[in-house]
Point group: C2
Chain length 181, copies 2
């Protein structure tokens, strides 16, 4: 499937980036839904260059630090567009280690089960405030964020990440009540 290939092409379609910049992007906005380590990114960039989907210029940072700044080619844009419009099947499995534990809950005592769920609730709760702030920043800047806004993609990932987390938390709360004890 080579999803990383398309992730990189999509990022470069927004503007020129170095391998390091791409690594950083995966720690920000889009990191909620896709990421990769630099050790996977550099070889992929090399491959994409060989395939003609991207190209790079060497830029000198300071006096000697060589930086490779990548751009998407016309061929790369075509490839990206083809993927964007191609139907990608929804995977049957969305892996979630906590839910695997939940399925095996009968191997725990009621107290242990309650602790497991409460710990999960606490950890999941920590991310929400941060996401809510980011979303309000975006919405405050421009309300409502519309399709034509350059921030629309950002808005989509933020709002989805927030809702996903909220949904998880409300389910956890209901299940904690159900476990009782």
């Amino acid at each position: 499937m080579r999803v990383l290939k398309y992730a990189i092409l999509g990022l470069l379609d927004k503007g020129q980036l170095s391998g390091y910049d791409i690594t950083s992007k995966f720690k920000e906005e889009i990191g909620h839904f896709w990421s990769a380590k630099h050790s996977q990114i550099y070889p992929e960039l090399k491959k994409l260059t060989e395939e003609g989907f991207v190209e790079y210029q060497i830029v000198i940072q300071g006096t000697k630090l060589e930086k490779k700044v990548y751009s998407i080619t016309e061929l790369g844009k075509k490839e990206l567009h083809e993927w964007m419009n191609r139907y990608s099947p929804i995977p049957d499995t969305q892996k979630d280690e906590f839910m695997l534990k939940a399925y095996f809950v009968s191997s725990l005592s009621q107290e242990e089960a309650k602790q497991l769920f409460k710990d999960q609730l606490e950890k999941r709760g920590q991310a929400i405030a941060f996401l809510e702030e980011r979303l309000q920043e975006l919405e405050g800047k421009e309300e409502p964020v519309s399709f034509s806004s350059p921030d629309f993609g950002h808005y989509l990932v933020l709002s989805r990440a927030l809702e996903r987390e909220k949904g998880y938390i409300s389910w956890l709360e209901r299940m904690i009540a159900k476990i009782g004890g």
Copy 2:
């Protein structure tokens, strides 16, 4: 992390299973949140046997078909319990190829974007009716499903899978309205 190891131990803790049975389990209930192919399961079972966490008996099906029926050992139960009570960090990234496309939405026309979201909504909608039925079956059988029920783990995965899907869909609907056109 070896999550598959614990997935297998957890399944065997509920009862004896062959490698084929484990493969089947990953296509049912728990398959929403974890799965593996038989080509990954058989070597893992071999490793778990060597490590003393599981053991097997050979059972003859029909006249010559040899089946290995695995059981969890005391050591395996200890190992499973340790993992169940160990805190597993929530991954920063929960990969979702559709959301990656959503982030790159600016590379699409308004019509293409709308189509992308509508297709996703349609596909996501298909799973819901099935999940809803299963959950009602379970709740009809025993209302409310409580911690002490042998079906509680099943109930947890079904209700979570359903809510996850419902949350996704309601978000998709709101975003389709926002894309407009």
